[in-house]
Symmetry: C2
Subunit: 231 residues, 2 copies
C-alpha cells in the first residue's frame, strides 16, 4: 500500500538544479516537463525495486534516499545516499532495461520522474547532454573503484571512518542528524551491525566523534580522515 501523491502542477516553479541538465535547451526542458510527473514518497517507501523494469529517470527534488543492492543471504549493500539535486539513471538503460538496484526513501521525499523516452530523445539529440550523462557515469565508476579499495584493503575502522566522512559531505556539515539506521550504516560500510556499533563506540570513547542516537558530530576530522586513509 503506497501513499504516494502524484502532482503535475508547479513545474515552472521548480528551481532544483540537476547536474547535467544545464546542457538542455528550452524545448528539451519543455519535453522533460511534459513527460514528467512529480511523486511524493513517505519515509521508508520504495521508489525503485531491484529487478523491475526501469521506466523513469528519477530526480530527487527534496529529501534523502538510499540506493542499495541486494547481496547474499538477504544482506544489502548501501551504495550511496541520494539527496536534492541528484538524479539517477538505471544502469539497465540501453542494456536489459531492468533496475539493478533499489532506492528507498530515508525521509519524506519529493521526486520528479522523467520518462525513459524523453530522456533517450534528449540523449540522442543533444550531444552536450549526452556528454554530461557519460561524465556522470564515469564519476560513478570512479566512486565504485574507491569502494572496491575500501572493501579490499581497509579494515572496519577505516571503512566506518570513510562512511562518517561521506555522510558529513552528504549532509554538508560536521554535525548532522541521520535517518539511516545502524543497520543501514553497517550496510554502507560493509561490516556487521554489531561491529559498526563497536567502532562508533570506540571513536566516541576516543573523542573523535560525539554520537547520541542519530546525531553524529565529527570532533576531529583530521584523525577520522587519517583512519580512513590508512585503513
Amino acid at each position: 500500500m503506497t501513499n504516494s501523491i502524484i502532482d503535475i502542477t508547479g513545474c515552472e516553479k521548480c528551481h532544483v538544479k540537476f547536474s547535467g541538465f544545464d546542457a538542455l535547451n528550452e524545448s528539451e526542458l519543455y519535453n522533460f516537463k511534459q513527460s514528467h510527473c512529480k511523486v511524493v514518497y513517505q519515509q521508508g517507501e520504495t521508489i525503485i525495486k531491484e529487478g523491475t523494469r526501469c521506466a523513469n529517470i528519477i530526480c530527487i527534488k527534496k529529501g534523502y534516499a538510499k540506493l542499495f543492492i541486494k547481496g547474499l543471504e538477504n544482506k544489502n549493500i548501501v551504495i550511496k545516499v541520494l539527496k536534492e539535486g541528484d538524479f539517477i539513471v538505471s544502469p539497465g538503460l540501453f542494456t536489459d532495461n531492468l533496475n539493478h538496484f533499489s532506492v528507498s526513501a530515508l525521509t519524506n521525499l519529493s521526486t520528479c520522474m522523467i520518462s525513459i523516452e524523453a530522456f533517450t530523445r534528449a540523449f540522442r539529440n543533444n550531444n552536450r547532454f549526452a556528454e554530461n550523462v557519460l561524465k556522470l557515469n564515469h564519476e560513478i565508476t570512479n566512486e565504485l573503484y574507491n569502494q572496491l579499495i575500501n572493501l579490499s584493503h581497509k579494515k572496519m575502522t577505516g571503512r566506518v571512518a570513510s562512511t562518517i566522512i561521506y555522510l558529513s559531505q552528504i549532509y554538508n556539515s560536521k554535525g548532522f542528524h541521520t535517518t539511516l539506521s545502524r543497520q543501514d550504516l553497517a550496510d554502507l560500510s560493509s561490516v556487521s551491525k554489531e561491529s559498526l556499533i563497536r567502532v562508533l563506540k570506540d571513536f566516541k570513547e576516543n573523542g573523535i566523534i560525539t554520537i547520541a542516537g542519530n546525531h553524529i558530530k565529527i570532533n576531529s576530522f583530521a584523525t577520522l580522515s587519517n583512519i580512513s586513509r590508512i585503513g
Copy 2:
C-alpha cells in the same frame, strides 16, 4: 625502456570487431583509422599507468592484458582481464582526463590507439555510437556491483571460485593456460596470495579442478558455480 613498435600500416586488413563500433559509418571509421596508431607491447609492459593523462581509447587487437587499480600499501586490485575485441575508455574522459587505472600486458599484445579527439567527435556526431558507449559503461557498472557483492558477502572460496569461472569465460574454455601469476589471481579475488594457493589446493584435492602450474581445468563446473553463488 619500452620495446613498443609503432605500425600505421595494415588498417584495411583489420578484422577485429570492437563491440559498439558497429554504429560507426564509413567516414567515421575512416576518421578513427586516420587518428589511430597500432602499438605492439611485450608481456609485462605497461600500456596505461594510473594517474597519467589519458590521451587514447585503447583497443585490444590480439593478446591479453590486466586492468588494475592501486589500493593501499602497494597492493593492487585486478578489476578485469582484457582480450581481443575489448576497448577501454578511461573513466577520466569528460571528467579529470586522468587514467584511474593501470593496464599491463599479460602476453605479447597488439593494440590500436584511437585519439580522444576522434573518439569524442564520433561520440558527439553519432548518437547510436554514443548509446553504445553508455551501454558499455552501464555494463561495467553492473560488473562492479557484482564485484561489491563478491567482496562484501562472499568468503575466500566463493571469491576464488568466481575468479576461476570468470577466467574460463575469458579464455572461452573449461581448460585453459593463464599468464596471470598467483599474485594476480589473488588480486583478482581480493585475497592474499597464500590464501589463494590454499583455496586452489583445496579445490584440487576435492577434484573440482585440475591445476598444474598455470594450467587450470574445471572438472565440475556445477560445484564451482555453486560455491561461487553461495559464497
